[in-house]
């Protein structure tokens, strides 16, 4: 049996103001503090249009390879619900800003049907009464709809991860599915023949991995029904996080009638070449391009993955990449820096690490002034205090001894003090070299450059005249 999946994603855009009014776009402030007469649908009010929202949507269009409706309008979607202050939602039905796009995942193109701009509703809070928070009313959303071209939960999860990553790197949304700034509804159908089966929609899925869980459950549920010879009825279901199952919400009413018509309060918007050009010039580097760049720099795959998955780290990396050895920098950032941040539950910008100090540290390591073991200590101090790494190294006497003459002096001293071991060496006992090296480290209080010391030790031993023993 073949499953077919389509996904609708709503994404909150993080513009300064709402899409159709000047209210601040910040849901998390005190309830009903970011509202005005437009958001409340007061009699006589009219929508404004936030051009910045269109800019952001255009960025998404470019990143998702959409064709753009250059002459677009808005439509009204009419229905009654307490969270809908005007009794209609302003959206785009006939002329979505983007159409016929695609996003590439590992080995497949996911075809995208459309992307449109709309306003969010207000947030209902159901206690003994129903309370309404209008901070969310009019927050800009884009809705991205795939074609029914996804055939497994793995593909769905890959698509959503890639989509999330792309939108995050565009800088247009926080795309936090847990906080509701990204919401996924999936349509799943199963068929045992060539025709598409009857689809069931699953809403209320709280994480990308649960999208996979929900899809697998839904495929199994529908397959079993088909095997039993039962008919699947079109319906809306909700994902239950506790039981990891999907639960029936309602059967689709026949012909859900939203009485769409063009919004007469907003004139048609024409997106001219200049506008497109401006947005294009403002496009950030996206993840596919970054990945290729890092591969070419010789950074290993695990590090690339980690960097891309952590946008803060990636931004930091990009800001220093021209001034440092990228491999050493990548190792430090994905290793010690990230584990420090995770351990302390802070963001990079909340630590004391800055660009200049980081560059100095990488340089110390690159020039072998300090060892990687020492670097671990230094980076932790850097993250805590923001001190100059050179000072940290000096204060802790961490500098490696790499001066040829000093190294030679130490090596010769060790040799003269350990003639027994030299004898063992000359007799071919391998253990002797390890012991002598240990003595060299000890003599230098661990600060000698190990490879240089090793090299010098062997050459001095070879030169040593057996007759002197």
């Amino acid at each position: 049996m073949k499953p077919t999946i389509g996904i609708e994603v709503h994404v909150e855009l993080k513009s300064m103001a709402k899409v159709f009014s000047l209210s601040k776009n910040s849901f998390n402030d005190e309830e009903n503090s970011n509202i005005n007469v437009i958001d409340l649908g007061y009699p006589g009010t009219l929508p404004k249009l936030n051009k910045k929202v269109i800019d952001m949507a255009l960025k998404a269009c470019f990143a998702l390879n959409f064709k753009i409706n250059r002459l677009m309008h808005f439509d009204r979607k009419n229905y009654f619900y307490p969270d809908l202050p005007k009794g209609y939602q302003i959206t785009q039905q006939d002329t979505p800003i983007g159409y016929d796009g695609y996003l590439e995942i590992a080995d497949k193109k996911i075809y995208l049907e459309r992307m449109h701009i709309e306003e969010d509703t207000c947030k209902s809070l159901h206690t003994t009464d129903t309370l309404l928070n209008f901070n969310r009313a009019g927050v800009p959303l884009i809705e991205i709809v795939t074609k029914p071209c996804i055939n497994s939960s793995e593909e769905a999860v890959q698509y959503l991860e890639k989509l999330r990553e792309t939108l995050l790197y565009l800088g247009i949304s926080d795309v936090k599915i847990e906080e509701g700034s990204m919401r996924c509804d999936v349509n799943v159908s199963v068929s045992d023949n060539e025709k598409l089966g009857t689809k069931c929609e699953v809403k209320n899925i709280g994480s990308i991995s649960n999208v996979g869980v929900a899809i697998d459950y839904e495929i199994k549920r529908q397959e079993e029904l088909i095997k039993k010879g039962e008919k699947i009825v079109e319906q809306t279901r909700r994902f239950d996080d506790k039981t990891k199952t999907t639960v029936l919400m309602r059967y689709k009413e026949t012909g859900n009638d939203y009485r769409y018509f063009p919004e007469p309060d907003i004139p048609y918007v024409y997106i001219d070449d200049n506008w497109l050009e401006q947005v294009k010039n403002d496009m950030p580097i996206l993840t596919d391009e970054l990945k290729n760049k890092y591969i070419n720099l010789g950074i290993n795959n695990n590090n690339i993955k980690t960097i891309i998955a952590n946008k803060d780290i990636c931004n930091f990396f990009e800001s220093v990449i021209l001034n440092v050895n990228p491999n050493i920098a990548a190792n430090l950032l994905t290793g010690d820096v990230l584990s420090y941040l995770n351990k302390n539950f802070i963001k990079l910008e909340e630590s004391k690490l800055n660009k200049d100090n980081f560059i100095k540290l990488v340089e110390l390591l690159d020039k072998k002034v300090i060892s990687s073991k020492q670097a671990k200590e230094v980076i932790n101090v850097l993250l805590e205090t923001g001190k100059d790494p050179l000072n940290i190294v000096k204060e802790n006497k961490m500098e490696q001894i790499s001066d040829d003459n000093i190294v030679l002096d130490i090596v010769r001293k060790v040799i003269n003090n350990n003639l027994d071991s030299v004898k063992d060496f000359k007799e071919g006992k391998d253990r002797a070299i390890k012991y002598l090296m240990g003595q060299v480290m000890k003599e230098s209080k661990g600060q000698i450059n190990p490879s240089l010391a090793n090299e010098t030790l062997i050459s001095e031993l070879n030169k040593f005249d057996v007759n002197k023993l």
Partner: protein, 480 residues
Amino acid sequence: MRYLDLDIKTINEKLKSKEMKPVDLVNEAFERIEKTNLNCFITLNKEEAIKQALELEKKDVDNLLFGLPIAIKDNIITKDLRTTAASHILDDFIPVYDATIISKIKEKNMIIIGKTNMDEFAMGSTGETSYFGNTLNPWDNTLVPGGSSSGSAVCVAARITPFALGTDTGGSIRQPSSFCGLVGLKPTYGRVSRYGIIAFASSLDQAGPITRNVYENALLLNVISGFDENDLTSSKKEVKDFTCLIGQDISNLKIAVPNYYMSDTIDEKIRQTILDVIAMLKQNGCQVDYIDIDYLEYAIPLYQVIALGEASSNLARYDGIKYGLEINDFKNIDELYKNTRSLGFGNEVKRRIMIGSHILSGENANIYYYKALKVRQAMTNSFKKCFTKYDLIIGPTNTDVAYKLGTKQDDALKSFYDDLLTIPVNMAGLPALSLPVGFKNNLPIGMHIIGNYFEEDKIYQLASYIEKKLNLDLNIKEGK
């Protein structure tokens, strides 16, 4: 004391010379309201108006409209002053902001006397659908004053205030102006901000002035016009002084008369009166041609589809949750909606919401609504074509003069026919004015002057010429 019957320039001089004060005008307006019994106001603003008038005594008389009383149709939002749209559903609604045009008249220090009666949500052409009862026609109290701007028209006709603001979606300024012997103008769509106008049909609504004469009409249009960043459909077109062409020679004007506007549907006496004006214009050198404008005959079905479709959506916000009528009798959310709206809306409004919802439902949207948009565009194009050759279009405003109260209430369709000649103008978004040009059985007859986009000044040019030539006595005789 008959200050309010003086012309605006004289009043302005007397205010400047302190021979009269704004409060005298305000007191006189309220005395007249008390003397008459026409039900033209829903809410009076007496205390606030007197207070404002007294404060104005300290200010310089800096414009022609300074200190003058004005009446505002009750679908225009006024801060802190009850605004009902003549509906039970908003009968306790006190707005927290001013419509843009209200801010503009306040800037000129005009004084709001009160909020005028109207058809509920501007849906009607007789004033009879108001929750607050119908308004009487001062020419004959047994007749309708026209609507939906019934109270605004009656207020000026009864000489309570020299100025009123109305709104016009299918003829709601021009038709009552015609029935009451007044000058009423619907401006070009986009000329006047709609921010703060309680929406009926967003693509057709436009506010405009109702006045005693042409000059004063142009003065008030000067005040309320202009781009508003709160209304995306308002125009950035420059606002000139609309009085600038008044008194200029009209002999070079080319005028069109649509045959449709002079057909048998129009009362004979009305047609004859218009023909007399046409003859007079020709005598004075105007070129007047009879022409055909395509699609005019579709005005009423177009209106029913487009206006009512939009209205069904615009009125969805009155749900009993955020403002307006609150009911306690409900068990669930659906009942809250149903009971609020059943109780809150009158029959005409309910009828129009039902028709509009039906028209936009499912496949109907394609059969009716999108088809109507195409016809609307075609009608607009035929007007545009006409204006490539002509400066102005004239004809009657209505098919007849004012009729008896109660005659059309039983037939839902009939009342739309009042707007037969006015609707096409809203559909095309053009400016048009109604001007009194004669009488039938002592009742005023209105002439319709339609201009090209943003050429209100040319409309006033011709209207003032005709007004001066005819020199009609439009004061209502006592005892009528």
